[in-house]
């Protein structure tokens, strides 16, 4: 290891520094606004650093990390999400908590964990990244400790995440016993000799349990609805986007390195998980009256769709998965942004009653929510439609017919509950709107503008996907 190898790690070092800088700013008693702006600038710095190091990619930092185009792509999406979530957090926490500053430390640490997952190629870095992400998330979920059952949600996530990371470690230990290496490429070398050993398969199985828990796939999805409902809305957006992107990135790298998809047993297991996630997620969402829980179940279904792109294990599948994650995170960010904007000091805007006739009262916000729901449902002209289309075409190439059929059928079921929410938006307004005075006009306006831009991006990607696809291909070539 020499100093030249440190250069590709520059974005991650800056990301780690962001939380240290935030701690120092708090120590000097600077205001929430200063911390918010500094955090924003630090994240912009991370983007610039990624751009600066692009020529050195791909670079391996043995034994723990590999910084290649795929990692840069997923890190870019993660940083984009944390920029938006940071902005949403300002108005959300400024109204609720007297002391929202430590929130940003945890937010940046959790982001660092997810970013480390995208570059890890060793069990140690996988574990450290995953734990950095989850331990920060325990505190983030329970951050507003006096309201909304946040502590209950935090406790549930804590117990189940700790259990799943113990399973992950156990799986790692068993795989290490058989393969004698904890590096993904080292495991890949020994794989032909050990792939039929029962302890190796058991290890692989327990790792799948842990990853499935993090991605909230059926049958490890039981925490999702409660945690989505109980945690502060920006944190819900974080769990739904960044935490899952990071976990999926590491799953993708592990599968690519050890060529996981050439084993029929593994394909069968992942197919069953994907199919049951699509069915269970969509069916449980049908009767939901709570928008946050509805989005939780819909995210279970969406990660089932994403696994269909993961099943073929080819270039097109990776491309489709990256496109899907980009479209999905923009969609969810705009949906959770609307929930954040509508939440008042006392109530989260989560029950569907609040949304009755919203289009007549706040047309812009309601339109943005409607667009994001259309995108989740996969209506043409939105990004969600093309994302599903690319997943389908990747699956057709490898002829994984059963998951594809289930994908199409459950999408139709999904249409019902997304349209039900949109129908509510257009209903006759029962409650008169109490227009609250906005405490921070500047941040309110910038949140509004961000939401409009996000909705515009959904349309833009949905109609002209060429530029995004080209970018994804360019990044994926760097490996």
């Amino acid at each position: 290891m020499n100093e030249l190898q440190l250069i590709p790690l520059l974005p991650f070092i800056i990301l780690a520094m962001a939380s240290v800088v935030t701690i120092l700013l708090i120590a000097f008693r600077l205001s929430h606004t200063v911390i918010q702006v500094t955090g924003f600038l630090m994240m912009c710095l991370v983007v610039f650093a990624t751009w600066y190091v692009r020529d050195t990619l791909p670079e391996e930092v043995p034994p723990l990390f590999i910084v290649d185009g795929q990692a840069a792509l997923f890190t870019g999406v993660i940083i984009f999400c944390v920029l938006v979530i940071g902005l949403f957090s300002y108005i959300y926490f400024e109204e609720r908590e007297e002391n929202p500053k430590e929130y940003y430390i945890l937010l940046f640490l959790a982001t660092l964990g997810a970013a480390i997952l995208t570059i890890s190629q060793h069990f140690i870095s996988l574990f450290i990244g995953l734990e950095l992400l989850s331990v920060s998330l325990y505190a983030l979920i329970a951050y507003l400790r006096n309201r909304n059952n946040a502590v209950e949600a935090g406790m549930k996530y804590l117990v189940l995440a700790a259990l799943s990371s113990a399973f992950l470690l156990f799986g790692m230990a068993l795989i290490y016993m058989e393969a004698g290496s904890m590096k993904f490429s080292g495991i890949a070398e020994k794989l032909p000799q050990v792939s039929s050993s029962p302890l190796f398969l058991m290890g692989l199985g327990t790792i799948v349990v842990a990853i499935g828990f993090k991605l909230a796939l059926v049958p490890f999805h039981l925490w999702a609805a409660d945690v989505y409902q109980g945690s502060p809305t920006p944190v819900t957006a974080f769990i739904a986007t960044i935490s899952k992107i990071g976990t999926f990135a590491v799953l993708l790298r592990f599968a690519q390195t050890i060529h996981l998809q050439q084993y029929p047993l593994i394909i069968a297991i992942f197919s069953v998980i994907a199919i049951s996630s699509m069915i269970v997620g969509n069916i449980l969402a049908l009767r939901q009256q709570n928008l946050k829980r509805l989005l939780a179940y819909s995210s279970i279904a969406h990660f089932g769709y994403l696994l269909v792109a993961f099943l073929p294990g080819n270039e097109a599948g990776t491309e489709a998965a990256a496109f899907y994650l980009i479209a999905y995170s923009i969609t969810l960010l705009s949906a959770f942004g609307v929930i954040t904007l509508l939440s008042s000091r006392e109530h989260e805007a989560e029950t569907l009653d609040i949304y009755t006739g919203l289009i007549w009262r706040r047309p812009v916000v309601a339109t943005i929510l409607a667009i994001s729901l259309f995108s989740l449902a996969g209506i043409p002209l939105t990004a969600g439609f093309l994302a599903k289309f690319f997943v389908l075409s990747a699956g057709v190439q490898q002829a994984v017919w059963l998951p594809l059929a289930v994908l199409i059928l459950t999408s139709v079921i999904g249409l019902y509950y997304y349209l039900r929410v949109i129908n509510t938006l257009f209903g006759t307004s029962g409650t008169a709107d109490v227009m609250q005075k906005t405490v921070h006009p500047f941040f309110h306006v910038s949140t509004y503008i961000t939401l409009v831009v996000l909705a515009g991006m959904l349309f833009w990607i949905g109609v002209f996907p060429g530029l995004v696809l080209q970018g994804i291909r360019l990044f994926l070539l760097l490996h």
Partner: protein, 105 residues
């Protein structure tokens, strides 16, 4: 000693931990059981590290370093976890997890 003994002991410890998490209702006991599972893994890691070192692999010490990482992370997890358990206790004067059923539709 053959490595099978360690594997057997670790699997037994791990299963006791899983059983405890699934069956006990006291949040602190559940936490102890998670720690038991992590320590079962530590034992397994050290045993395998020795096994591969005996087999002549030079990088086998990596697994022992991993054990230190696991210990540190477990300590961090307990620090945050106990803080959350204290908040649960302050709210409801109990650490029984059966009372946590208010989040539902």
């Amino acid at each position: 000693m053959p490595v099978q003994y360690y594997i057997f002991l670790s699997i037994v410890l791990f299963c006791i931990g899983v059983m405890g998490v699934l069956m006990r209702r006291n949040a602190i006991i559940i936490f102890m059981c998670v720690e038991l599972m992590l320590n079962a893994v530590n034992l397994l890691m050290v045993a395998f590290s020795k096994m591969w070192a005996d087999a002549g692999r030079v990088d086998a010490a990596g697994a022992q370093i991993f054990v230190f990482f696991i210990m540190v992370v477990a300590a961090a997890e307990v620090a945050v976890g106990l803080a959350i358990i204290v908040m649960v206790y302050r709210k409801s004067q109990s650490v029984d997890i059966n009372i946590m059923n208010r989040l539902k539709n």
